[in-house]
Point group: C2
Chain length 173, copies 2
């Protein structure tokens, strides 16, 4: 079983290091099985602003990143790692020009959110999500969770942000 | 005095039309004198998200637009005009590339908020701000209100958005 665990570590990046930091309550092997966030946390649209983001390339995506009270307090106090109970939501929209605003400005300069594209969540529970650095990742399109293959892609990317507990977004004052 | 009033209307656009919609409690002439928001409303950073925006041209600006409870309720229920007590904040930042994120993505695509540049407010009080469509406009740099000439520029621009009570930003779901 040890060999299989090592293979999993290879697949998901540095899962082992985070699993050790936040041990699961179950047997050690359970800690290496990723668990995803498959229910949209209620009330997320009322959470407060962490920051905004814009991805170009082939994404043309706007993000509004919101956090629940635990998240906002941790951000403002600089608490790392984020405590259990932290919820972070990243609401994505198409990044589209605003013809209406451009008319007022008298030139093409204004971009606004178009249709919503997806919502992503990070939920901190160092026991439940021990296999993925204490974070549960969720990815929803049209209110429905994406398939497991796509969910699995979240963690290896976030695992590269080791110095800030796997969270890319910084707090905008 | 009538002539002076007309001149003011000329300067600030269609102030007259809005002043008539929401008459001031004082003498008629008072309604044509713009009053600005010169104190930052407390607690604005805890307001909820209305939407995000991005201005290019020579601005390279990110905006996070937040609203108090009255604003959020009005947006969600589609209430127009916005009721007295509506507060809307537009937090502006430089729109800058994120070298850190681009390293993870493996290409240049990611933009995040840089330094804060200014914060703008719209406050609905149809009596106090009768001269400017019932909205008080505020514009702050480094926590300080800008000079009156700059404050004066807010209203004529917003006055062009007649169909949505002078508010450009739409609610992002």
């Amino acid at each position: 079983m040890k060999r299989i665990s090592f293979l999993l570590v290879g697949v998901v990046g540095v899962a082992g290091a985070f699993a050790f930091r936040a041990p699961a309550s179950g047997p050690a092997d359970q800690a290496s099985v990723p668990v995803f966030v498959t229910q949209i946390p209620p009330g997320y649209r009322n959470w407060r602003l962490i920051s905004v983001a814009h991805e170009e390339g082939n994404l043309h995506s706007f993000a509004a990143v919101l956090g629940n009270d635990v998240a906002i307090q941790a951000y403002r106090e600089g608490t790392l790692p984020f405590p259990d109970g932290t919820f972070i939501a990243s609401l994505h929209y198409q990044h589209v020009p605003s013809a209406e605003n451009n008319t007022v400005f008298g030139r093409d300069q204004s971009f606004v959110p178009g249709s919503p594209t997806n919502i992503q969540f990070m939920v901190k529970d160092s026991t439940k999500y021990a296999a993925t650095g204490g974070w549960g990742f969720g990815f929803f399109i049209d209110g429905k969770p994406v398939d497991e293959a796509k969910m699995t892609s979240c963690y290896p990317c976030h695992a590269q942000e080791k110095t800030r507990d796997l969270v890319f977004t910084r707090y905008a004052p």
